[in-house]
Subunit: 420 residues, 2 copies
């Protein structure tokens, strides 16, 4: 028998306890041993819970219990779980966590501290989809060329509704909040931060790149309008919030942003709250992993998979390697990212405006791939929509600043990146 | 350093040796040790090869070499590799194989023989996609409700061309043969046997079901015409050759056949030579794994992933469990499979024919869901296309026999199953 302790018995913790009991037969057959929750740690002992496991409000009751072999961290947050997980590792206990924020900030310290003690985190990224296992083990023969992930179900649900049903951003955000898909303060999801945490975890396994969320380009979906959606449809694109990791020479791009992608690509077909991660390896080619990215049972499925793996006696370093993975690879500064862009701007509807704008873009070496002009409700204004050929982020930022300084520009420019 | 021996240095074996050398840095970082091919075994020593590894024409040079830790079996066939792999296990060597036929016939004996010796086979099913790892480890918390796999790239390529480009079966088979996607004798692929081998492997991990290819329903794509394709499009279906495993009460359906599936489902969107496997777990819900199902480098990617996993010290029983997995589960006899059907038949274009046919179906308790009548080039004939509500395979087989005995029937009936 293997005894585990759970730090944090919320939705996922309750699912873990429930599934370990209800699917106990099949889990025991696969692990080779019975897995029992010896104790759960909660903040509030008097709150009613769905499961009947012994509870404590002191994490040390789990961390210092010599009978507990595996500590499952499901508290959320960064520094508090970090301190506790360090103590658990110090006591020689294996750790399983679903905590993406903890890993976004402390994965390399944790890999160092864990050493040969199993430390697993399948549930931290893309919920129930076993994509960590795929990347850490299944694709180990490959140099990873790129990763593209739809890793935030809230954003994908909202974008799907905006595209398929013509819903407006504000309306669909309210609906998502009512359905429990989005928080009262939705910034962490719609601003791209949640996806960024997950991207950093995947990028560490793939490239050994050390970066914190504040080091990388993170934008959300807040500025997308039905005009953008209509343009995307017209030109054969889907719009997805993607986490992108890409090797370019000795640099690695890491970025999260709303992206126009060809609607024929597999990941463009992933709709609603579902998640998917495409990984291109230099030998295997393109692979994709699809499934539910959130939810108590789906996340618990991944947590238990890690526990089973540890009980089977599996090991190997936390991030999948001990020494430097790819020599000389470095995070590419945001400014040096090269991609195609989509621009939307409102202008005074006067002769010569288009020439002014294209010549301004030209000054920064930016050439136009396609253009659409649309009338607005306001007689004196027009909306211009462009896609550009590949250009560097810094040039685009400078060009946007220059364009916004023009008299003919009304309001600010909306920009989206395009990946083909 | 870990030394491996390769039995069979064909396309995949050459890729394994090449990737171990060319990606040696990253593979060593992930495995923790350098992996070196000590010897390859071939039938014909004088044939020119792409790689320069030491060769022998005697398998025992690998199997009896005490310096070799891992035997990689890439010979193909069933009984010859089985005998050799048994000897390798007897010598305590870990085994990695890409051989689906070997496993389709001997997986349970091999699991027994291997015991605690690592025996891995990621490359045997769906090529470079790490779906064995996902099912064996990533979904271990789940009772598996169903598996649907596009596991034969040849068939998927042909069906995609037939559907997207209106190509005829015979033409596209010739093209696939010219491109090297199909063998001179294509029966193993287009008849569904290749997919069946893979399905049996997945079903063993998911359900612990012991079955041989001859025990299960296997049909191919040979009888599909442009009439069927047009009907499928009209009614919102894609046509795919699917390997299906499904738990129904205490029975497990195992079947391979051309299938109409809703074109909105994720697996319906998998086109060309690509493979994908959808796995539905009772806790995680629907997950899908997508990628290249064949090719030297993609298959070698999976072979090397297994080698790395073994070198990391990972273990666990070959099929993912030691004792009975799901108590009381049994292979459902083919005759008892319940599904929806599509029927195509040519009839004499006379009054009352439709009534005769529907009443014949009615006699077997089969009710019609949708119907299309099409004129043929032959004035006296019409083509009737039906879909039925759910019915039992045995009833459908009896009904087809009864219908084909009718005077009004011209030729035989084409049948396809529908999964929603």
């Amino acid at each position: 028998m293997v005894k585990i302790g759970i730090l944090g018995v919320g939705t996922v913790g309750e699912s873990v306890a429930k599934i370990l009991e209800e699917n106990g037969d099949i889990i025991e057959a696969r692990a080779g041993k019975k897995i029992v929750v010896k104790k759960g740690v909660v903040k509030n002992l008097s709150k009613k819970r769905e499961v009947s496991i012994p509870l404590s409000d002191d994490p040390m009751d789990v961390i210092d219990d010599p009978e507990i072999d595996i500590v499952v961290e499901l508290m959320g947050g960064v520094e508090e779980p970090y301190a506790l997980v360090k103590k658990a590792l110090g006591n020689g206990k294996a750790v399983v966590t679903a905590n993406k924020a903890l890993l976004a900030y402390h994965r390399y310290e944790l890999q160092e501290l864990a050493g040969d003690i199993p430390f697993m985190y399948e549930a931290s990224t893309a919920g129930g989809i076993p994509v960590i296992g795929a990347l850490r083990t299944g694709l180990s023969a490959n140099h990873i060329e790129s990763i593209q992930g739809i890793m935030n179900g809230t954003c994908n649900y909202m974008l799907t509704k905006m595209i398929n049903e013509g819903a407006k951003y504000d309306e669909i955000l309210k609906e998502a909040q009512a359905l429990g898909y989005a928080e009262a303060d939705p910034t962490f999801d719609v601003g791209g931060f949640d996806a960024a945490h997950k991207l950093l975890i995947l990028a560490s396994i793939a490239y050994g790149i050390d970066a914190k969320p504040e080091d990388i380009l993170i934008e959300g979906i807040e500025n997308i309008t039905q005009t953008d959606v209509a343009f995307a449809k017209e030109f054969g694109y889907a719009i997805k919030l993607l986490g992108i990791a890409k090797k370019v020479g000795k640099g690695v791009e890491l970025r999260v942003h709303a992206t126009m992608i060809p609607e024929a690509s597999m990941i463009a077909k992933v709709d609603g709250v579902m998640n998917a991660v495409t990984v291109v390896g230099d030998r295997v080619g393109e692979t994709m992993y699809y499934g539910p990215g959130a939810g108590g049972d789906a996340t618990a499925s991944a947590v238990i998979a890690d526990i089973v793996d540890i009980v089977r006696g599996n090991q190997g370093p936390m991030l999948g390697y001990k020494k430097g993975l790819e020599s000389g690879l470095q995070l590419l500064p945001k400014e040096e990212i090269v991609t195609q862009y989509y621009l939307r701007m409102d202008v005074s509807d006067k002769t010569g405006v288009l020439a002014t704008i294209t010549s301004t873009l030209g000054k920064f070496g930016i050439s136009i791939e396609s253009m659409l002009q649309e009338p607005t409700n306001d007689a004196g204004r027009a909306t211009l929509l462009f896609t550009t050929h590949k250009t560097q982020e810094s040039k685009m930022q400078e060009a946007i600043e220059a364009l916004e300084a023009l008299d003919v520009l009304e309001g600010s420019i909306a920009m989206m990146r395009i990946e083909k």
